[in-house]
Symmetry: C2
């Protein structure tokens, strides 16, 4: 069982490292990222050997094929991780950016400047690529990083962190800039969540269960990521060809991710025409539709190959399916759509398809989500799509960061105030 | 005993109000703030009658004169609260500000826009003026507010909130935009801290005990405010007249506030000259000095009227005295000063007095505090001094907001993405 002392010792080393990382110039950090990428390539065989152990253990433990696939590394995947580090090296350094700056009437110069957060802990599930991505983003933004991956990826993560940490240190970064949190048991996370004052933030990445466990139990500040019950609303007078394209893309382009659509709301004025055609198109694409009474009446009877149209319950309105399922309802007004979304949404991304400027303005002003898409697919809520170059996760909370988080979201700010002997 | 249902019902009403507050234009919010100010003036007698009950109860319960003074209202204090609301009405509306905006290569327009947080809860101690200040700031930034004052100010707060809520509603704001949290018992705060999903943030304002209780027990996100163990470091080669002015101002201008200095560190190169003179000046100003061995040797023996020079212990380095006490140490190097501060500081404000640009640059880059003063008093870390026009508190955490918090810090952001049928 992992002891609190083990975790606190690692966190304390990370805090010491953070103090030395913070003042580093961009060139030093970028050189380290390139050295880490080189080391990953050079030591691919070691990493793959460790990964093979995880896969063997995983098969013995009865992991599903899906999980095994997420866990599996090969030369291509290791090379992609290395390239990810080089890409991060190419991004601007957020540290030192002057966010606000002005001179007060008394002559004091005030500058609000971006600084690293300090020690960032990431708690995540199977994919070993998160180990490398998170390490790269945290170091680039001047933070020490504590990585707590899942037990099923333990051998892979241990090998990856050994390679990264050694390369980083050789390149001149402080010792303990990159560390694995000791232990893969539940206590390991519990102690991490209690290490307030040593750890500055915990970012959980994974399923809803992991995220709510961390959110509810951590006294270290948390950034909540990723649960997405995303809606598409098709307004009266919408271009229905556009609406169909957007619905299909939002649902079927990659159903397993948080920015996929899970619910469709159709204004009654276009329901008669739009519901049958979109349900048919969805079924052709392999989607099971969960419809309200109107949807069942308008499109429930269509005999065709493909998944059925099922009656929707409150569980469907609440569901983040992450699969080829879509809840569909007809609403009488835009305000009814707003009320439905405010009741059921997880606050990730909502989309409106409409040609009406007043309708769009009203919808947008009443949403309470990280992103609102106007005549665009929900799938665009993504750090890469937004041009951030990299993403540590998508925040669905309102404090600190909301929506896709890039490098600036891994920083805090500090006020620098310069005078020449000013007193009050 | 306050039930969870009572608190959740209030929070749910606040959440409904928040949905209608968010889209309000600035003019509507400002008109309501002026109406609230008018109502406070018109109903001063009612407010003072309620305050008299609190004072009577407080005297019976044996409150100290200091607490009674903080609790006491008079016509002037009520007028000042009303003026505070008018001042907030005069500030720019943070809601709708475009924080970032650009067009992606595919033509999608991305706008990151400030939006209200939603429901803001303030948990605070005796001063009734916080009731009015917090309500004004929250409403101006489009948030519904839940106020949880102390039991000792219950009658005053109830009267104030009745006046504010009625005036706000008459002026067209949603019902329940301003509410008192039911109950003044411990359960009342406990239920508030569990109302995740209804309450968006809790801001505790008060002593260290209240703040750490909320930080450690809330599953609603918290913004930590105000504990200040602030340091002044006097560097080798510093202008010692300037240093003395800054130390005296930082310590004695208003010792009971969080941005007062609590520790002084003096570089050995100037200690021989500076320590005796600054200790003498401090003692003349009524300050008890808690010195390390060097300080005791250099200034301990001075016979004079005034408080003594006492030996410092680790408790002194850690102390937020909030009184006319100052811990003083001699350090061998700037890096020793940095190490001392990183070990003992609460991360509020540190000051360096130095004429050396390289020394200042090194010091600043190694601090981990909300504010760093360069040749200026720690007392300038303040929303009013920074020109924010108003302040809801001073954050000493790193997430979301750090340092003095004005209106923008009471907002989140949302991404608005506009296309013409964009899909991935």
């Amino acid at each position: 069982m992992t002891t609190e002392q083990d975790v606190r010792d690692a966190a304390r080393r990370a805090k010491d490292a953070a103090a030395d990382l913070a003042p580093l110039a961009r060139a030093a950090k970028d050189a380290a990222l390139h050295a880490m990428a080189d080391a990953l390539i050079a030591q691919t065989a070691t990493v793959l050997a460790a990964n093979t152990k995880d896969l063997t253990n995983g098969r013995a433990a009865g992991l599903t094929d899906g999980l095994l696939d997420r866990l599996a590394l090969d030369e291509g995947r290791v090379a992609a991780m290395a390239q990810g580090l080089r890409d991060v090296a190419g991004l601007p350094d957020p540290v030192g950016e002057v966010v606000r700056g002005y001179t007060l009437p008394n002559g004091l110069e005030v500058r609000q400047v971006r600084v690293p957060l300090g020690v960032v802990a990431i708690v995540y599930e199977a994919r070993p690529n998160v180990t490398v991505d998170a390490a790269g983003l945290c170091l680039k933004s001047g933070n020490a990083v504590l990585l707590r991956g899942s037990a099923s990826a333990y051998e892979s993560n241990t090998a990856l962190v050994a390679v990264l940490a050694e390369a980083a240190e050789k390149a001149g970064l402080p010792e303990a800039s990159v560390q694995l949190v000791p232990g893969t048991d539940r206590e390991s996370v519990t102690h991490l969540m209690r290490a307030r004052g040593l750890v500055d933030v915990i970012i959980p990445r994974g399923g809803a269960g992991l995220i709510s466990h961390v959110v509810e139990n951590s006294i270290v500040p948390v950034i909540e990521t990723g649960v997405g019950n995303c809606h598409v609303y098709v307004d009266a007078g919408a271009d229905l060809d556009m609406a169909e394209r957007i619905v299909l893309n939002a649902k079927t382009h990659r159903p397993s991710v948080c920015n996929a659509a899970e619910s469709l709301l159709v204004h009654r004025a276009v329901a008669e025409e739009f519901v049958p055609r979109v349900v048919t198109a969805l079924r052709h694409a392999g989607v099971t539709v969960h419809g309200d009474d109107d949807v069942l009446r308008l499109a429930g009877g269509e005999p065709m190959d493909g998944p059925p149209v099922l009656p929707a319950t409150d569980e469907d309105w609440a569901a983040e399916y992450l699969s080829l399922d879509l809840a569909v309802a007809v609403v009488d007004t835009l305000d009814d759509a707003v009320a439905h979304i405010r009741r059921w949404s997880s606050g990730h991304t909502e989309a409106i398809v409409s040609a009406s400027q007043p309708a769009i303005r009203r919808f947008v002003s009443r949403m309470d989500s990280a992103a609102v898409m106007i005549n665009a697919s929900t799938r665009f809520t993504d750090g890469g799509e937004f041009g951030f170059g990299a993403e540590i996760g998508i925040s669905t909370q309102k404090l600190h960061a909301r929506g896709p988080m890039g490098l600036p979201e891994l920083t805090s700010t500090s006020y620098l105030v310069t005078g020449d002997g000013h007193t009050r």
